[in-house]
């Protein structure tokens, strides 16, 4: 179906079901449909309609606090697998008593978004299965930080110091559970959890009955901090969102701000951005590969080899941007460190070509050490299975969704930069297990090499890399969205501006946060020994999850 057909269908179906309770909203973008829902109670009906006409996931649920109107505005964004059309539903709930029916019972993918909105904004979702603080401590009673009138001094009252002096959070199992059921918590400090998060497992024998991921260990409140920083300053935070894919987040943020402020980017920098982002994808996947192999055990060589190649890419990044990990290289209006006239270092592309040629050989070496090993197949096949419709329903994106057999990639569906002029394929898995996720990522690296080689050839050789945006023009009203395919999944940054040089609200869709929420389903009935493989295959990046 074309864009217009889907838009007509959506509007027709919605108005026939909800009648006068919805009204169409004028959107800045042609490809997105905006709808105001006047009665919050009818959100479940609306969701049923959208689900029926083929919408895939509630890809982002943002709560925007508007004290002047006395409401909290919830923006539901629903995406599609087959088209770039998204439907945005705006619902206002009362600020004093923000209650709205939860759509989690209908659409499981909404669960992480809804508990996040409860955690930071205090919107209560009725009928949600497990409502508790996600990012803030479980016993947090100091208000909801993202609200505009929240007093930061409240946070200082949280008794963290007392907690360091005594046993904290001593929990017991409810007495109605049988004797041979026990609970194990893995993390927050554990080599298998890649960073810091905690996994609470309900076990019987060595079979997992239920699993609950517990996030928030690195929650720094980036979204709140960004509200008091100028658009330029926030770039630094986007680096630190995910240390494995800094450039990707630089790009997502820059796209969102450029969308909000209406900044045109020079042609040459578009191509250069593609090269950088695809390099970052390779670097991120290499890091993932080495970590997964370390998790699977006795693969010490395979822990070392991908990092060896990664260092070569890091050297190139360092040569161009001056940093090994946190680049801040993609800026609003283009690419550059701090000057507007600077260019890519001499001979950089030749070195990149050499590294790529070498890398293609190395991938064969990886295959020899993983795929050729029988134990690798035993540890990964039919482990952590989720596929087909279930993966879409659960909210997976990125390599996890593609391994589940769904051909969904933002680079193809909603091309940004110059991806529509490039020739590449999307690797898709079949079984949706750990092995397929490995296979998809290995192939994505090869596709990235292909993209970089094309982009080097077709990139304009001369021209500016960055549009000069004077600080006075760094003010915007309305909305801006950056939607990219991060190495870990679909990344969205949604910005609301109010005419100042700072964002009014910035919401970051972390693909890993949603993918890790799948642990509820992936770990159920799995064996204890498979935990490391399953978590590793999701490529967690906790700094991005917790924000």
């Amino acid at each position: 179906m074309g864009v217009d057909e889907i838009k007509d269908l959506t509007i027709r179906e919605l108005s026939s079901t909800l009648g006068s309770d919805i009204e169409k909203r004028d959107m800045k973008w042609d490809k997105y449909i905006g709808v105001n829902l006047l009665k919050p109670k009818r959100i479940t009906e609306l969701v049923r309609v959208l689900k029926k006409i083929g919408y895939a996931q509630p890809v982002l649920i943002t709560a925007v606090d508007k004290p002047s109107d006395g409401v909290i505005e919830l923006v539901y964004k629903f995406n599609r697998i087959d088209s770039k059309v998204m439907t945005w539903v705006y619902v206002n709930v009362d600020r004093e008593n923000p209650r709205i029916p939860s759509i989690t019972p209908l659409w499981r993918a909404a669960f992480p978004h809804e508990i996040e909105a409860y955690d930071l904004m205090g919107v209560v979702f009725d009928n949600i299965p497990d409502l508790r603080h996600v990012f803030l401590p479980w016993d947090w009673n100091q208000g909801f930080p993202l609200r505009k009138d929240w007093d930061p001094n409240e946070a200082k009252k949280y008794p963290w110091w007392e907690k360091t002096r005594e046993f904290y959070d001593p929990f017991i199992i409810p007495s109605d559970e049988s004797d041979d059921i026990y609970y194990v918590s893995i993390g927050p400090q554990h080599p298998a959890v890649h960073g810091s998060f905690r996994l609470i497992l309900k076990m019987k024998g060595d079979t997992i009955l239920e699993a609950w991921p517990d996030f928030g260990w690195v929650h720094r409140g980036i979204e709140k901090l960004a509200e008091s920083k100028t658009f330029d300053q926030i770039i630094v935070y986007t680096d630190r969102l995910c240390y494995g894919s800094s450039i990707s987040w630089n790009l997502t943020y820059s796209l969102a701000v450029e969308d909000l402020l209406g900044i045109e980017v020079p042609e040459r920098s578009l191509w250069f951005r593609v090269i950088l982002v695809e390099m970052q994808r390779i670097v991120s996947h290499l890091l993932w590969l080495s970590a997964l192999m370390a998790d699977l055990g006795t693969y010490h060589s395979m822990f070392l080899y991908p990092i060896r190649e990664r260092e070569k890419f890091l050297d190139l990044f360092e040569k161009a941007s001056g940093a090994r990990l946190t680049y801040s290289y993609i800026k609003i209006g283009g690419v550059g460190i701090f000057k507007h006239a600077e260019d890519i270092p001499d001979n950089w592309f030749n070195e990149l070509k050499d590294v790529l040629t070498d890398f293609k050989q190395r991938v064969k070496e990886y295959l020899d050490m993983t795929e050729a090993s029988e134990s690798f197949h035993i540890r990964t096949k039919n482990v952590g299975v989720i596929r087909g419709k279930a993966a879409i329903e659960a909210g997976a994106t990125g390599p996890v969704l593609r391994a589940a057999g769904i051909k969904y990639d933002v680079r193809k569906i909603d091309p940004y930069l110059v991806y529509d002029q490039l020739d590449f394929e999307i690797p898709v898995g079949k079984r949706g297990d750990v092995y397929d996720r490995w296979w998809v990522r290995i192939n994505e690296m090869l596709q990235s090499v292909r993209i970089i080689e094309q982009a080097i050839e077709e990139m304009p050789k001369q021209g500016p890399l960055r549009t000069k945006v004077p600080p006075i023009k760094m003010r915007g009203t309305g909305e801006g969205i950056g939607r990219t395919e991060d190495p870990r999944g679909e990344a969205i940054i949604y910005i609301v501006g109010d005419g100042k040089n700072m964002p009014y609200r910035i919401h970051i869709r972390s693909p890993t946060y949603i993918n890790l929420s799948l642990l509820h389903f992936l770990l159920r009935k799995a064996k204890f020994a498979d935990i490391a493989a399953i978590i590793g295959s999701l490529d967690p990046c906790m700094a991005e999850v917790d924000r």
Partner: protein, 385 residues
């Protein structure tokens, strides 16, 4: 009455046990002598002995030291519970038959079909072992397969869910609420017994004309060895909190920088670590856990605040969930700036550690003893978790 044994059979039994008694005797006495020697040395040197250089390993009443987990978390529910039989049936079989195998060996080398007494003995032994095993299994009345794990059924359900079957989807994508509940802390006042238990027992007999100098010498020697090892091979406990974890220990741990050249080994557990690396912004949620991990490290311990976030809060200073700096929670010894610091900077820090830590550990020992006494004096209650 035992029936008289025929001379033929008697000869065979004797043959079975006719070993070289001299060799056996020498080895047995060596074995026993070695044990007695060990016990004597232990009695001399160990705490309370005349040559004791060992200060009683004190249980410092830092609350987290007694926490069982080494991941910074306290266990949920009781930690001791009865396991399903399936978990010890295999070790049981292994241990019993492992002990049994040497006898089987003896049996095979002297096997003869006429040896009915010995044959019968072994056959009955095997039978009884199996019967005992069966009885153990039957007594617990549990099957050897956990009933919840029905792999084929589950894979079938996943297949159905993948094809969009409504019922299977609901079953597969079920989110259960977390039902563990919070317990009230049970606070017990500290009794004199506990105080004695936690207190230090330092031998104060420094006046003995013969033993005191020997003790001093031994102590000096052991101390020197210990500090030499401490400087040469710091085991690091790294918290993979944030970005810095990718550089240290990941990038420095592999080929290009290879920190193992300097004897640095990443230790997964705090109990074996010497150097704790705090890398990243410390959130309210992390702070008690970091303290717990720090408490679990044995003295002497050193802390590195790695990166701007751990030093002062870095770019996240002023956030509602972040504590500005690791030194608000822990005593920090080394600060390594950078966002993140380069791997070379960490290697430089290691050089400094090697040169400064041995003397620092010596200097700090007395301070630690004093500090522990101070802690004991001020501690008026023990929390029982």
């Amino acid at each position: 009455m035992i029936a008289p044994i025929s001379p033929k059979l008697r000869g065979k039994i004797l043959m079975l046990f006719s070993l070289d008694y001299l060799t056996l005797g020498v080895f047995a006495s060596l074995m026993i002598g070695f044990m007695i020697f060990g016990i004597i040395i232990w009695k001399l040197v160990a705490s309370g002995g005349p040559l004791s250089i060992h200060r009683k390993r004190t249980t410092v009443p830092e609350p987290y030291k007694r926490v069982g987990y080494e991941c910074g978390e306290v266990p949920i529910g009781k930690t001791r519970f009865s396991f399903d039989i399936e978990y010890y049936v295999f070790p049981l079989i292994f241990i019993v038959f492992d002990v049994f195998t040497p006898f089987l060996f003896l049996w095979t080398i002297t096997y003869s079909p006429n040896n009915w007494l010995i044959n019968m003995f072994f056959v009955l032994l095997i039978m009884f072992l199996f019967l005992g095993m069966m009885a153990a299994v039957l007594r617990d009345g549990k099957s050897l397969v956990t009933p919840e794990y029905q792999k084929d059924y589950y894979l079938e359900m996943i297949e159905k869910a993948a094809n969009g079957d409504e019922e299977a989807l609901n079953e597969f994508l079920r989110i259960e609420p977390l039902k563990i509940i919070k317990k009230e802390l049970e606070v017990k006042p500290m009794t004199q017994d506990m105080r004695n238990k936690y207190s230090l027992s330092i031998p104060d007999d420094k006046t003995h004309p013969v033993l005191a100098p020997i003790r001093a010498l031994l102590r000096k020697l052991v101390g020197w060895l210990f500090r030499w090892g401490l400087g040469k091979s710091p085991w690091i406990l790294y918290l993979g909190i944030k970005c810095c974890a990718l550089e240290i220990p990941m990038a420095v741990g592999v080929s290009r920088f290879d920190m193992e050249r300097w004897g640095i080994i990443p230790s997964g557990s705090p109990r074996q670590a010497d150097l704790m690396i705090v890398n990243g912004p410390i959130t309210f949620k992390w702070a008690p856990r970091i303290k717990a991990l720090y408490d679990q490290i044995a003295e002497p311990k050193f802390v590195v605040a790695l990166g701007e976030c751990a030093i002062l809060g870095g770019p996240f200073k002023g956030s509602y969930a972040v504590i500005d700096g690791a030194n608000k929670v822990l005593p920090v010894d080394f600060y390594l700036p950078g966002c993140p610091p380069r791997p070379e900077m960490f290697l430089d820090l290691v050089m400094k550690y090697r040169s400064s830590v041995p003397s620092e550990a010596e200097r700090r020992r007395e301070k630690i003893v004093l500090a522990r006494k101070e802690v004991l004096r001020n501690l008026d209650k023990v929390l029982v978790g």
